[in-house]
């Protein structure tokens, strides 16, 4: 590889040779210093700059949007009963949303509990290709639903399921359309990308109140929030699938005289089937993570059960309801994944007939038995869960020999890491941070990325939330570090030891789908309300993605290379450090980037346990009715996200590979 890289000195000299005499001083100019050198020099100078310049963002460069946004809320309230936009469009939208979720809920309830179990089981079986292989998936589907019933959560689970089915259907349809546009047109792809990023990073708490004002509480707002959050993966995967279609197949299809539309329908879409189903799968997971948020505006379901349980600090009951969400997630995940992975022939007519018979028998028996889950058939897990939680908190909070206990650690991290980092950032003049961001982004990626990073950071200052954003930024940086270290370690371990990976899988599943509200209580009990509690909650959420991407990256390293190094007598450590690690570097960088994005996604949750700053403002925006404050803080989080993304995202492989392919 290194042989093809141009020698920087030669490159710098080349224009000079051609344009001799055009400007004489270029003749003796040394090659320009690299971004990395500049960055290092600048970083060393920072303490001096901090002493010289004024800290913070200048007052003159601010725009206060809060009053404008607040008066918008008043306008909506005053006009929503009379203005045509509401009467003839938005009201219909909100009524349709409510009606369709109610309809699906009625459908699910009327199937009866046996009917629902039978239908979901057979659907999973059929989707997995029927036969013996499908039985395992049928068992997962059956077990997940029956589990919700056993935990005494049948009713809320069905409510949640109804909302999720409609939300996923809408998100998938919308995602497919946008994905088609992005997959077929480069302009659409470029235009959609920032929109999709914003949809995922803008905290839903921030726009929930405006949605409530416009669309009303309950189903409509919950549905729209869920769709906004869950659509992007479907768009991305659809576009990816369409763009990745095998050129030779398309060529063949074209030579047979098919029209563009025929090619799309008969070749491109079927070829992208795998990506489409993966997109659907991700959309379902994202939608399920909105269940608790939806309950804040009265959408009911499992989210409400969690909210209710935590009010009385019944951690066990909250966790039980959370587990029901996890089970539904595992069920839908495995079913859609099986449908995506299925290869070979479709299940035959006999399988279809069997599935129909089982479903119909279930539905019929559902009509004779009671509609809901029988009350006698429930198990109470809450009490033992509470007891074990109390035990853990009691034993780890303080007075642990040698280690000191979580109370002491939290104090240590706050005093020795968070406070100095925050103080340092706050003491720097605004322009020096902009330069730092620009240089870092340039050293990691491209000039374009550097400009974006600087603009994003500047936007935070203009919005008047400079200090708060830096306060949040310092937490995010620490949280990312605390996520990446154990994440990489676990990832390496899982990649080398198969058993660890199998053991980790359900744990990681649960960590990703369990609503964060549930573990906030033990986190606060262990670490006290404050920034460390917020960071811990964020790390728990972001860790699974980092572990998974690291594991996958390491496992994809050519086994031959590892084998070769082993035969040369390399120790395990040497294999990891000198062979697997460098080869898996791209995957590791993606893991780091995902760690940043996911940590940012839970900044708001951190605001609920003393993280303060932006996360807290977003929460206050919804619960305290301060629309402007919430939206501006939300925008601040988006800007931080944009900047950190540019600071951690290396030149995309496709961008660097594209010119190479053209040669």
């Amino acid at each position: 590889m290194s042989t093809t890289a141009p020698d920087p000195v030669v490159e710098a000299d080349a224009p000079e040779v051609q344009q001799q005499g055009l400007s004489s001083w270029t003749a003796w100019r040394p090659s320009p210093p690299s971004a990395r050198t500049l960055l290092l020099a600048f970083a060393l100078l920072l303490p001096a700059i901090a002493l010289l310049g004024d800290a913070g963002w200048p007052q003159a460069l601010r725009i206060d949007l809060v009053p404008t946004l607040d008066s918008f809320a008043d306008w909506v309230v005053d006009n929503r009963d009379t203005h045509p936009v509401f009467l003839y469009f938005l009201l219909h939208l909100s009524n349709t949303a409510t009606a369709s979720v109610d309809w699906v809920h009625g459908l699910l309830t009327s199937a009866g509990w046996t009917g629902l179990l039978a239908v979901s089981g057979t659907l999973a079986w059929y989707a997995a290709g029927a036969g013996r292989h499908g039985l395992r998936h049928a068992a997962v589907a059956f077990g997940a639903l029956a589990g919700c019933g056993l935990l005494g959560l049948w009713e809320p689970a069905v409510e949640t399921l109804a909302l999720m089915l409609v939300a996923v259907a809408v998100a998938a349809a919308l995602g497919l359309l946008l994905g088609l546009a992005a997959g077929l047109s480069d302009t659409a792809q470029r235009a959609l990308r920032p929109v999709l990023d914003t949809m995922q990073v803008l905290p839903s708490f921030a726009y929930l109140l405006p949605l409530v004002l416009v669309f009303g509480i309950g189903t409509p707002s919950a549905l729209i929030t869920t769709v906004v959050y869950a659509t992007p993966p479907m768009v991305r995967m659809t576009a990816l699938g369409l763009r990745g279609a095998d050129a030779s197949v398309l060529e063949a299809s074209r030579s047979l005289g098919s029209t563009k539309w025929q090619r799309l329908r008969t070749a491109r879409l079927p070829l992208a089937r795998h990506q489409l189903l993966l997109g659907l799968n991700q959309t379902i997971m994202m939608a399920l993570s909105m269940v608790v948020i939806a309950s804040v505006v009265g959408a009911g379901g499992l989210g409400e059960s969690i909210y209710q349980a935590l009010k009385t600090r019944d951690f066990g009951q909250g966790l039980t309801a959370g587990l029901a969400i996890v089970m539904i997630a595992v069920w839908l995940d495995r079913t859609t994944a099986a449908a995506g992975a299925r290869t070979g022939a479709r299940p035959g007519q006999r399988a279809a007939a069997v599935a129909t018979v089982v479903a119909v028998v279930g539905l019929l028996s559902g009509q004779f038995l009671a509609r809901g889950w029988p009350e006698g058939l429930t198990v109470d897990f809450a009490a033992p869960l509470n007891t074990s939680m109390d035990w853990i908190v009691g034993h780890f909070y303080q007075d642990v020999p040698v280690l000191g206990g979580t109370d002491v650690w939290a104090g240590g991290i706050t005093t020795w890491v968070l406070n100095p980092l925050n103080d340092g950032l706050q003491a720097l003049p605004w322009w020096s941070l902009l330069i730092l961001a620009g240089l870092t982004a340039r050293a990691v990626g491209t000039w374009r990325g550097a400009v974006t990073a600087v603009l994003a950071l500047a936007a935070v200052g203009v919005l008047g939330i400079w200090g708060k954003s830096l306060y949040t930024l310092s937490q995010v940086l620490v949280a990312v570090a605390l996520t990446l270290l154990p994440g990489f370690a676990l990832g390496v371990l899982a990649a080398r030891v198969g058993r660890v990976e199998r053991l980790l899988r359900p744990v990681l599943d649960a960590m990703q789908t369990l609503p964060q509200f549930i573990y906030l209580i033990p986190v606060v009990q262990l670490f006290n309300a404050g920034r460390v509690a917020a960071i811990t909650a964020a790390a728990v959420y972001a860790l699974p993605a980092v572990v998974r991407i690291t594991t996958q990256g390491l496992k994809q390293v050519d086994p031959a290379a590892v084998e070769a190094s082993r035969s040369l007598g390399a120790t395990t450590w040497q294999q990891i450090r000198q062979v697997q690690w460098p080869l898996a570097r791209p995957a590791l960088l993606v893991a780091a980037n995902q760690g940043v994005v996911l940590v940012l996604a839970v900044v708001v949750i951190g605001g609920l346990v003393g993280g303060g700053a932006l996360g807290f403002d977003v929460v206050k925006g919804l619960t305290g009715g301060e629309l402007g404050t919430g939206l501006v803080a939300g925008a601040g989080i988006v800007c931080l996200g944009l900047m950190l993304d540019k600071l951690t995202q290396p030149k995309t492989p496709s961008a660097s590979a594209a010119p190479a392919a053209r040669h």
Binding site: L107, G216, K311, T312, A359, T415, Q525, V619, T623
Partner: protein, 319 residues
């Protein structure tokens, strides 16, 4: 080849259609059942237990004594006010004061009207645990708080003392108080009520000193023994300017609110909800059934209603 595929496809479509049709028929039967009752009342279930039991008791009586169907909707306070103005919920039974929403909906578009007092008086203040007050008797006056910054300081608050704030949606002007009383304290957000309670409980269990925003009635007062810190006396209007405020929180007679249309219809349900009025002790008792004894709010309401017939008889509309 193509024909067999098409054959299968049409067969599968047939199966799917048949299944859907079966579900639809089944659904049609059940849809007819649920639309019979028109006497429906929608009530707000708030995020704290005290107010939740108001709703539970009212709902129980509306259903069992007046023959209504009650739908309860749980959500945060600000969305609840908006829902009430739109008639999506009919009443809020416990309100601690929302001046901004009152201006917008009561005076503004007149979609919400007052429905009388709940009977419970709320009180907000600053509190320390009793074990701290016992050891340092003069800590219970704000003038002495600066003497105790070292006692209350945590890694999170640095050199200052730590003041633990309440849920972001609750009425508070602690930041202004700390500034205007020149206290050397740093306010820390403990977040949602659930995490605030978890934090206090943990500190209390480990006998650690803390200074916090707290209020009565509150069911946890049965287990946490807290002593109030004296703030400068509340005088009418001293909390008008939220930035200059330097006095204690007022006692708040908790209020009930109703959707204007619902109130104007003057149904039995509206009359009943206007009459609904009980004491702090009564509310705390039912709240304790829910929070400490882990009853569902319906069961707790049922228990209280069965034992206190004389109290709620007076709430029913006169025939």
């Amino acid at each position: 080849m193509i024909t067999t595929i098409r054959h299968r496809a049409s067969f599968r479509t047939g199966v799917a259609a048949a299944g859907l049709l079966a579900l639809l028929t089944v659904n049609a039967c059940s849809a007819a059942e649920t639309t019979s009752s028109s006497k429906v009342v929608n009530l707000h279930t708030p995020s704290w237990v005290g107010a939740e039991v108001n709703t539970a008791v009212a709902a129980y009586l509306l259903e069992h004594e007046l023959g209504y169907t009650v739908k309860t909707k749980q959500m945060d306070e600000t969305p609840a006010w908006d829902a009430m103005s739109q008639g999506k919920i009919d009443a809020i039974l416990e309100d601690w004061g929302h001046p901004q929403e009152e201006k917008r909906y009561v005076e503004g578009n007149k979609s919400v009207v007052a429905a009388g007092d709940l009977g419970v008086t709320g009180h907000i203040g600053w509190f320390v645990p009793k074990y701290v007050a016992d050891e340092h008797p003069d800590v219970t006056d704000h003038k002495n708080l600066n003497k105790y910054t070292d006692l209350f300081k945590t890694p999170e608050s640095g050199d200052q003392g730590q003041f633990i704030k309440g849920d972001p949606s609750y009425v508070s002007y602690d930041n202004a108080l700390i500034k205007n009383l020149q206290l050397d304290y740093k306010p820390i957000e403990a977040g949602a009520e659930a995490t605030h309670l978890a934090q206090l409980e943990q500190l209390y269990k480990n006998k650690k000193p803390f200074l916090t925003y707290w209020w009565t009635p509150q069911w946890m007062n049965a287990t946490l023994d807290l002593v109030e810190v004296k703030l400068p006396e509340y005088k009418e209007g001293c909390d008008q300017d939220k930035d200059a405020v330097a006095c204690a929180y007022p006692d708040v007679p908790l209020k009930k609110w109703m959707n204007a249309k619902f109130a104007a219809e003057d149904s039995d349900a509206a009359k009943f909800l206007k009459n609904f009025q009980w004491t702090t002790e009564q509310q705390n008792l039912v709240a304790k059934y829910v929070a400490a004894d882990k009853m569902t709010s319906e069961k707790a309401a049922e228990k209280w209603v069965k034992e206190n017939e004389s109290v709620w008889k007076a709430w029913l509309p006169k025939k």
